[in-house]
């Protein structure tokens, strides 16, 4: 199996490089590659030169303060790192995601599953194949570390590699064990339950201790929180339960080769124990790989979301506007992809977040903390929502062949594709924004009532305009540069693909400024002309003018996109891997 694995790895790497070099003949990949290389140079290569921290005598007071904070943090960093790992381990049990190690391609399924090799060898194969990606990730992380010598970077590289591999294998174990929690086989069920009990038991011990400290001594800022948490996890039972997690991160904080060597032993021991645990779940591996074989046989190679047929209470009428079927389609996609288990887990996380906010907010008041949280969430939804919610042309490009046979105007297709996700993101922003307005007396106590309400309502009026403008830009990009848009849940790889993503991100933000500018100018004129007459309330009509102008721009843009949609032919687009 080792020989076969090495052969596949060598051939894949060789052909991938050849393909990526060949596609540089196309301008879009070349531009992407230039951006990607430039980014790597400035972000990573620029840090290659060893830089020593400036001496205390010559450093500015600010720098000296920063150095002292870093020194304090370094002392308690392993314990805090261990805590972070523990939380990540617990979250991995709750989140419904599978390990990438168990994702076999169609070719792997076709060639390796029928081959006369034990199932454990398949896991070994995937482990080997994932090494390069993990190593590359570790390399980037070690290079990105700001102040370090070459030898410190080398130690960092090895530490991060080991850490990521341990996490990788642990996550595979979680994926294998999750279904075993409810199985009848006593052995596998016991193994899975012990693993869950260990992780959540340790988490309960640490969180109880932290919560007790926070209850006794309310905290005012992040430094307070840091001091309390690092104090709790550095001693007593919480420290004891964190030992295996601390062992994994300790090499990362070694300040020399000797201490690194000392820390490496326990870290490797934890890694080996994790591997042993995963291999003990052999029965589960057999079941899961059989499932994967069945699923892969009937599905394309791209990763796909899972859907569950359930009524969403919306029957599509047989007549009406051309955009409505697209909205309906988007609604079904959204509601059906959401798993009830995900909702429960999200609920648990919200409860947890509320508890944390309550504990942190005791000193200043819960209303202020929740108000800030809601306002932040509204801003986040408005700005990031359109990038995350891709239930539009970006996802439907994979169904373009079907869409193009439909007798629907191109502009209606584009508008219809955007309407549902824009509505969802706007609703989220509105709900969070409304909570923010209600609690604004506590959050923005310095502002007058009229300013808070008028400002809040103006923001709510502007939110859909910003959201729809961003969706228009993303969908325009999907139609104009389809090769740069990831299809479905797949993500193109390579330096050129990374450069393309960076380029697109920058271009999107630039476009947003251009789209919003006319509306902002029109709204600004209204505000300037009447602010002395009606005070803060002028913000509302100004926002309405701005939103109307942006809506008109969006309408014109979707009409103008028609020819691009008609011209679009994905079969002539080289999507790379």
């Amino acid at each position: 199996m080792v020989g076969a694995t090495a052969y596949i790895m060598w051939c894949s790497a060789k052909n991938r490089v050849r393909r990526r070099l060949r596609r540089l003949r196309e301008p879009r990949y070349l531009i992407g590659a230039i951006f990607g290389v430039a980014y790597l140079f400035f972000a990573v290569y620029g840090r290659m030169a060893p830089r020593r921290p400036s001496s205390s005598r010559s450093a500015s007071p600010g720098a000296r303060r920063a150095q002292s904070v870093v020194a304090t943090m370094t002392a308690s960093a392993p314990a805090l790192g261990g805590l972070a790992l523990l939380v990540a381990a617990a979250v991995s049990w709750l989140m419904p995601f599978g390990s990438g190690l168990l994702e076999f391609t169609q070719a792997e399924t076709a060639f390796l599953f029928p081959a006369p090799i034990p199932r454990r060898s398949l896991l070994f194969y995937r482990l080997m194949r994932s090494q390069w990606a993990v190593f590359f990730g570790a390399l980037v992380m070690s290079l990105a570390y700001p102040i370090a010598t070459i030898s410190a970077r080398t130690r960092g590289l090895l530490s991060v590699w080991l850490l990521l591999m341990t996490a990788h294998v642990f996550f595979t174990g979680v994926t294998l064990s999750r279904p075993q929690l409810r199985r009848r086989s006593e052995h596998s069920q016991l193994l899975a339950r012990v693993a869950v009990a260990v992780v959540f038991g340790a988490l309960a011990v640490v969180l109880t201790a932290v919560a007790r400290h926070l209850w006794d001594q309310p905290i005012l800022n992040l430094t307070d929180a840091y001091k309390v948490i690092s104090g709790v996890v550095a001693t007593g039972v919480p420290h004891l339960v964190l030992v295996p997690f601390i062992a994994v991160v300790r090499p990362l904080f070694a300040d020399g080769w000797l201490s690194f060597a000392k820390a490496l032993g326990p870290a490797i021991a934890v890694y080996l124990i994790t591997i042993a645990w995963v291999l003990r779940a052999d029965e589960a591996f057999g079941t899961i790989t059989e499932k994967l074989t069945d699923a892969r046989g009937s599905q394309p190679s791209q990763r796909r979301a899972r859907y569950q047929a359930r009524s969403v209470g919306w029957d599509l009428a047989l007549t009406g506007r051309a955009e409505t079927p697209f909205m309906w389609k988007g609604a079904l996609q959204t509601f059906r992809v959401v798993d009830r288990r995900v909702l429960i887990r999200v609920g648990i996380m919200i409860v947890w977040l509320t508890v944390v906010v309550s504990l942190f907010g005791r000193a200043r008041g819960l209303a202020q903390a929740l108000g800030l949280l809601a306002t932040g969430a509204a801003i986040f939804a408005t700005i990031i929502g359109p990038q995350v919610m891709r239930v539009d042309m970006r996802q439907d490009l994979q169904h373009l062949e079907v869409l193009k046979t439909w007798p629907v105007r191109a502009a209606a297709v584009v508008r219809g594709e955007m309407l549902w996700p824009a509505m969802v993101v706007t609703m989220v922003a509105w709900v969070c924004g409304a909570v923010g307005i209600v609690l604004s007396a506590a959050t923005f106590s310095g502002a007058s009532l009229s300013l808070r309400i008028a400002g809040g309502l103006a923001a709510l009026i502007l939110a859909p305009a910003f959201v729809v403008a961003q969706f228009t830009i993303h969908n325009t990009a999907a139609l104009m540069f389809p090769a740069w848009v990831p299809l479905g849940m797949s993500r193109p790889r390579g330096v050129d693909a990374m450069g393309q993503r960076l380029f697109m991100l920058g271009a999107t933000w630039l476009m947003l400024i251009f789209v919003v500018a006319p509306g902002a100018i029109a709204g600004g004129i209204v505000w300037f002309a009447f602010r002395r007459l009606i005070g803060a309330w002028i913000l509302i009509p100004a926002a309405m003018v701005c939103t109307t102008v942006i809506a008109l721009e969006v309408l014109m843009a979707t009409e103008a996109l028609g020819p691009a949609y008609e011209r679009l032919d994905l079969s002539s687009v080289d999507r790379g891997e």
């Binding site: 047929a309 599509l316 009406g320 079904l332 193009k404 008609e566 032919d569 002539s572």
Partner: protein, 252 residues
């Protein structure tokens, strides 16, 4: 003519997939489009379906130009591709309802019921594509194409994934639709199906039309006399793949 293709050319970059292709299909006709792999059959069908834009030439459906009046042309078309492209989050019934809405099908419920029964999808109305076998998914695509009164039906390998009963029913459905006045273009490698069902055959090779006529017409062509009246032999002969026999083998 229901389908009219004039000097169609379609290129992908420097590669020409279809060149100078002209043909017509009248109402009630079933025309088989055959050719070796890479002949340009699927490109032709995808261009006719409005998925690809012709590089040159003209395609019209019931007199509506596919480039200048795409909505009217597409309203009359039903394309059934070889690979069933379905929305993973819509059930079988919802796929049919979506198509009915897009194409304005008046008596949808009755038609849907009939089609679901005809294509043996009964009991699967609420199933998502992920829960269906490939053959079943293919049937859903066919149902979506047939739920409306399309005057032009384009089939790309319509029998792929179907069981023997499904194949029989599909064959009957194609002939029945033609009798009802639809113009049908079928691309298939199953030459016995083409020979049995189609009223005319178009043979393509390397992006060009190399033959067009009934099997009987083709058999009487002087250059194909050696092939006899069997479509498979005619196809092999015309595409230059006819078996070469030695003198001894010919004697035997």
């Amino acid at each position: 003519m229901a389908i009219s293709v004039q000097q169609l050319r379609r290129t992908y970059g420097a590669f020409t997939a279809v060149d100078d292709l002209s043909f017509e299909v009248g109402r009630g006709e079933i025309v088989g489009l055959i050719g070796p792999n890479g002949a340009g059959k699927t490109t032709t069908l995808r261009t006719l379906a409005g998925i690809l834009k012709p590089t040159a030439g003209r395609v019209s459906v019931d007199g509506h130009d596919l480039v200048t009046a795409p909505i009217e042309a597409k309203r009359r078309l039903a394309f059934m591709p070889d690979e069933p492209h379905l929305f993973e989050y819509l059930t079988v019934e919802e796929h049919l309802r979506l198509v009915a809405r897009l194409y304005t099908v008046p008596d949808f419920d009755k038609r849907a019921r009939e089609l679901i029964g005809e294509l043996e999808l009964t009991g699967k109305e609420g199933a998502l594509p992920g829960e269906l076998s490939r053959g079943m998914r293919q049937k859903v695509v066919i149902a979506c194409g047939l739920v409306r009164d399309a005057s032009v039906l384009l089939f790309d390998e319509p029998l792929t994934g179907l069981d023997p009963i499904g194949i029989r029913r599909m064959r009957d459905t194609i002939t029945r639709r033609a009798r009802q006045g639809a113009a049908i273009l079928v691309s298939s490698h199953l030459l016995h199906l083409v020979e049995e069902v189609c009223t005319r055959v178009i043979i393509m090779a390397k992006g060009h039309k190399v033959a067009d006529g009934t099997v009987k017409d083709l058999a009487t062509r002087a250059d194909l006399a050696a092939a006899g009246s069997n479509l498979e032999e005619i196809f092999l002969q015309i595409t230059g793949h006819a078996p070469q026999f030695t003198a001894d083998e010919q004697d035997s």
